[in-house]
């Protein structure tokens, strides 16, 4: 484990950037149409519970990262196997985000640049970021993440001029089912993905504030999602919302007078970069702990290269990507995001009691 420590503010911003991540380019709550705000609220509540679960695990196993906790609680053999699955999950997550950004850039701003090259460029800066260590990642997020709410507020404030403010009515037009499905999607992407932070929470310098920080961050992200959702639906209206692929991008193009595409690219790079860096960092740290490497940095470039290749391999085209993330990702994630952490929490509680009894 690195000796570095990050401050509460740094963790808060890192986590906010992570959660906002690629949801900045893919509209939150699309499938529920006009009821997306309901889905966001439900998933925000669920996300709060999940993230509190993760912080409890870390608090019950102080100064241990994911692999160490898994090995402690499940025993060396089972723990290592589960850890391997987690590493795969983190790499998979990183490669999905890579692909999201690659497709986004290729379809919108850079139609003539090959996607491989765009993703590889991204990857190079991410290797540099991940190699700098958690402390530097915290410091970068301290400077960059505040730009996200700032810029999206500017974009929103300047395009909401003459539009239909009742676009999200009537409530529950299509029944509750799509809302539930969309909530599940939003819960697993992005809130549940915060399972990555099981490797980052231990670096917090003051553990007492952990629960407060995570709660605040989740709440802020939920509020921002609601804001983005209302902005989009007010401007575009619900039937247009489900037809467009990259909705937030579409709204930013509507900015009056000047084309804000590049500004939007900046927001996206910040969110996506932080998300990928966290996932890669988690994978690399876990892998180095699993194999007992002296320096985690030796794995960074090979893991990043692998996830870049994986991101190009994993889906044939953007439609397949979206249908997969819409239909399969939620079920695929549940074991990693809910089941194993929950078992881990039970084990931690149980074994802690046992330890205290022995004492």
């Amino acid at each position: 484990m690195e000796k570095a420590r990050i401050s509460g503010l740094q963790l808060f911003l890192l986590m906010t950037g992570f959660l906002l991540g690629s949801r900045l380019i893919i509209n939150p709550g699309t499938e529920a149409k006009a009821d997306g705000w309901l889905a966001i609220l439900i998933s925000g509540t669920g996300g709060l519970l999940l993230i509190t679960l993760y912080s409890l695990i870390v608090l019950l196993n102080p100064s241990r990262t994911l692999v160490e906790i898994l090995r402690d609680r499940f025993g060396n053999a089972i723990g290592s196997v589960v850890a391997v699955f987690y590493i795969w999950y983190f790499i998979h997550l990183a490669s999905l985000v890579f692909r999201d950004f690659g497709s986004f850039l290729v379809t919108t701003t850079y139609p003539r640049t090959p996607m491989e090259v765009i993703i590889a460029l991204f990857a190079l800066s991410i290797i540099y970021a991940a190699n700098s260590g958690i402390e530097v990642m915290g410091r970068i997020s301290e400077i960059l993440v505040p730009f996200i709410p700032f810029l999206s507020t500017i974009i929103g404030a300047s395009i909401v001029t003459t539009h239909d403010f009742t676009a999200f009515l009537p409530v529950l037009e299509n029944g509750i089912k799509p809302v539930i499905k969309e909530s599940l999607n939003l819960l697993t992407f992005p809130f549940g993905e915060a399972v990555v932070f099981l490797t980052i929470f231990p670096y917090l310098n003051n553990k007492r504030h952990l629960k407060k920080i995570t709660t605040l961050s989740t709440l802020l992200v939920t509020v921002l999602f609601l804001y983005i959702f209302f902005r989009n639906i007010i401007i575009l209206e619900s039937h247009f919302l489900e037809q467009a692929t990259f909705v937030p991008h579409l709204t930013s193009v509507l900015f009056p007078g000047i084309n804000l595409e590049p500004l939007f690219d900046v927001i996206m790079i910040i969110g996506g970069g932080i998300k990928i860096t966290c996932a890669i960092y988690a994978a690399v740290i876990s892998l180095s702990q699993l194999t007992g490497a002296k320096d985690y940095r030796i794995f960074t470039s090979c893991i990043v290269a692998f996830s870049v290749i994986l991101s190009l391999w994993i889906h044939e085209n953007i439609f397949e990507l979206f249908s997969w993330t819409g239909n399969v990702w939620a079920y695929y994630s549940i074991p990693f995001q809910v089941v194993i952490p929950f078992i881990l929490l039970l084990f931690s509680l149980f074994k802690k009691d046992k330890l205290q009894d022995e004492e």
Binding site: P114, E116, V117, A120, I127, I298, C302, E316, Y331
Partner: protein, 77 residues
Amino acid sequence: MIIMNYNMLSVLLAFIIMELYNLRRLISNKESIKVLITYVVITASSLVIGLLLAAGRRPASPAEWIQWIFKMIGVVK
């Protein structure tokens, strides 16, 4: 005749150079055999997949395996 995707190849080349450079550091650091094997396996697998992709022969991806498994279980239609 296989038509190669040259963008993909150049990206692969960049990564290979970086990883070979890294491998040197790995050896000079005297890391354990386990680390070395993991490193080589990951690098080799990404190289192989990358070459297949560059050649335009995309094998079935993990996403498809996962989807297939879920279909077998019956979670996803």
